[in-house]
């Protein structure tokens, strides 16, 4: 007998692969900007994370006795690898990238049942575990414009050989947190490299913003989560920053430094681990924005996107429970 399929018999032609490809493409401007300002480290990270991610995914699928070609094809592990590598510092050595990828793909994704079943954003889970386990390595950022050439970077990536002290420094967000009695202005005046660095971050964030807006226009995701996150972060920064402009970074610093735009458009829009309804995404985004501000300002870590996202991932089922939209005919 002929296999019968239920209606609809038409399909709009949208495929998961297409969505994944679009995300990859939209991340390219950010990647280029990051390479331009901080050197080839990021590129090596990306290549290594994706290669290793695919290998790990393949071996886990084999162990789970799942069809290989079918699941590798969905491209989700490539996106995870890319986002993870973009979030890692450019000076991350191979083992750090490996640990992060392993944790992201094997622990955060497949142990929970693979694509679609992971409660946490895999990239952020991998990032967070490294941030906790290897805090020094995770804060190795080059000064903008003063980075290794490709062969040196290659050497560093595999052997950690090279004069790192000369080229690494604290990130602007870190510096703004540890003012040591100075005001922000005084601190910036004393550290011209930080001003350069902040410029670099500004452009990188703009690149991510551009890519993210593109994705939004192509309806890969809705505006709800990013807009909610960015506005709540700005409002928090405005509320606390206007009172004490000397001690607290303002909205523009929060929006354009650190991983804000990468987070807003590429991380929190991961549909699997976020809240699912549109109103739920608003709550989810607001929660992340608020948490980012709190952790950045009063927490122990310089940036907070990973922790904020993971914490809100935890809340996603609860948010889903309370943001069920009213179905047709129930608005009474």
């Amino acid at each position: 007998m002929m296999a019968l399929f239920s209606s609809p018999h038409l399909h709009g032609g949208n495929h998961s692969q297409r969505l994944m490809l679009l995300v990859l493409a939209a991340a390219v401007p950010g990647l280029v900007a990051q390479i331009y300002w901080f050197g080839f480290g990021t590129l090596l990270n990306v290549i290594w994370a994706i290669t290793l991610g695919l290998a790990l995914e393949a071996s886990v699928l084999l162990m789970r006795k799942r069809p290989l070609g079918f699941f590798l094809k969905d491209g989700s592990v490539i996106v995870t690898g890319l986002l993870l590598a973009l979030a890692l510092p450019p000076m991350a050595p191979w083992w750090l990238v490996s640990v992060a990828t392993l944790f992201a793909v094997v622990f955060a994704k497949h142990l929970y049942g693979g694509l679609g079943n992971n409660p946490f954003n895999p990239a952020m889970a991998g990032y967070a575990i490294c941030l906790i386990a290897f805090p020094t390595s995770m804060t190795l950022w080059t000064s903008s414009g003063e980075y290794f050439n490709l062969p040196d970077q290659w050497l560093w990536f595999w052997t950690e050989q090279g004069n790192v002290d000369a080229i690494t420094q604290a990130t602007p967000l870190d510096a703004m947190k540890h003012l040591q009695g100075n005001t922000i202005k005084e601190m910036l005046a004393a550290n011209p490299t930080i001003v350069n660095y902040a410029d670099a971050m500004f452009w990188i964030n703009l690149a991510y913003l551009a890519g993210g807006l593109g994705l939004m226009l192509l309806k890969v995701f809705t505006w709800h989560a990013p807009v909610a996150m960015l506005s709540s972060l700005s409002i928090m920064a405005f509320l606390f920053g206007t009172g004490e402009p000397d001690l607290y970074a303002g909205p523009s610093e929060h929006l354009l430094l650190g991983a804000t735009m990468l987070g807003a458009f590429f991380i929190i829009t991961d549909p699997v681990s976020s809240a699912t309804s549109r109103s739920g995404k608003l709550v989810f985004g607001v929660g992340i924005g608020v948490l980012i501000y709190i952790i950045r300002t009063w927490g122990a870590y310089p940036d907070a996107v990973a922790f904020a996202v993971l914490l809100m991932n935890l809340c996603a089922p609860l948010i889903d429970q309370y943001t069920k939209p009213k179905a047709y005919g129930q608005q009474h």
Binding site: M2, S7, L10, H11, N14, L115, T276, S277, P325, G329
Partner: protein, 659 residues
Amino acid sequence: MKTLFDFPGGVHPPQHKQQSNPGKLMDLPLPQRLLIPLSQHIGAPAKPLVKVGDQVYKGQLIALATGAISANVHATSSGLVSAIASFPVAHASGLDAMCIELETDGQDTWHPDITTANPGQLDEQEIRQRVLAAGIVGMGGAGFPSAAKLATDTPIHTLLVNGVECEPYITADDTVMQIYSHEIILGTKLALGLLKQSTCKLVIEDNKPQAIAAMLQASAGHDDIEVIVIPTKYPSGGEKQLIQNVTGQQVPRGKIPANLGILCQNVATMKAIYDAVYLGQPSIERIITVTGDGVKQAGNYRLRIGTCADYVLQQCQAEQPNSQVIIGGPMMGFQLPNTHVPLIKTSNCLLVPSAKALSDASPAMACIRCGQCEIACPAQLLPQQLYWLAKSDAFDKIEQYNLMDCIECGACAYVCPSQIPLVQHYRYAKGMLRQKATEARQAELSKQRFEAREQRLLDEVTAKEERRKTRAAAAAAAQAAKRASNTEQADPVKAAQARLAAKQKTPAHDTAHQATLANNSATNEVSHKDLKTAAAIARTKFKKANKAYEDAKAADHEDTDKLQTMVHDLQQRSEQTAQALAEFESQVQVDPEAEKQAQITWAKANAQVRKLNKSAPDSSTPDDEKAAHKEALQVAQKNLEQAQAKLDHIKNSSKEAQS
């Protein structure tokens, strides 16, 4: 132009409407065989009125509607009834249903009773009758009987005539509107007349300019009919979506459009109403789109109800048999498991797409909760959540996510990037929910019946026990009465009465039948005894034979058959004698004298009690007197109780005897 509203969600699939040449109507030669299902509508199937071998005319009523929600079925051409049996019908399950099979004679002779009429001369009741008799059902797909819909009690202020036809490929309604615009308007006027104070909004999607033009022209001069053009968006033709689109209102959950004062009807239904009232013709044909890349002669055809799909496909030169065939549109239609099925009043399209045009049924990937389905859902549900719940059989939870509000439009599956057959998941879950509800109802019913039976068995046991107790009490009463008469020396009259009472009590009470027998003639006594003996003998014989049979059976004897017959005979004999005995006993009359006596006894005992109660001792009376009085009272009360019981008993047995 009126302001239009929008409805949430929706998709824009490619239209493919020009493929079937809207506006051009074609005919096919009359098939030799017509297969007319008895159930072409929502509600109870119609009941056949003809027999195999009957000669029927075109338009003759061959099956009668049963109940309020049902529709008549008519012969769609003249010929011979060749079968009334189960045939596969156009249903996604491929299951059979009752159909009447006609061998057409090619004459296509109308039934002589079919006459035209001038509705101006018909009163409302006659118009309703004509619509009801014609067996018209909603021709947009749902198939709700139109007469029942128009007979609503709720006041209707807006009649929405649905010419939206939002499914891709289909142009049947488009064609009806282009060719029969005047008939549609006249049919609509009739419907408005039946609904009273109501105006009509005729809604058409903006991708049918010719139909819009035709309807605007035909409706010119009719103030109560307004043609409304809405933007093309699937599923704007869904009843609920249409209402929201035009009025901005949502039909509240669990209510029907009539609760908002709105009634929806399809344009083709309006034309059918015209046919029924003006021409007297029942619903025997419809316009159907035959289209798709797999059909060489795509187009709109006027077809008799009951024409088989494979005949149509063959006439239209469809690629067979490799291509799949869909009845209805590509979004909500269903694939035919078997093309040898009849087309019915609700079939609006026969779609034979090329393999490429349809979704390639590639295996579903994992749901990533991307939310595209949520954006597309016109019912404002969370399809991604429903999918997860359906997949894990969480039926309780899925109900809370309003699965039952899903209209199965398929917009979610259309946009799903993971190619998940979402609608099938929902249909499965809905089916399971319905099944669970039925099972729960059934279980509740079984429980009630089980408990009722338990109660009944218990009651029988207690009643038996009660009877036994009553008999025992009567015996005790006789004893007590004797004692009482001994003690109550002070009142000789009373003692005599008690003695008398006791005497009467014993026979009448112990076993009513014996008592009455004693009062009857000696012959009665004898025959009763004889019967009793005969019954006992028969019973014993049967028991013995039965035992022998059981033993024989246990020992695996071969001749058990003979024994069994014997046992059977004996059992019957035993039963017969027992029955005869019972009959005899029940025939015996209760002696009226005994009843009278019992009544007297009761009255006396009653008087005694009352008297004793009146003369209740006060504080001045000595203690021993008090005690004596108390005792006397107790005895009298007991007497009263016994007399009461006896009286009741006699009354009951006389009642039994009479019945």
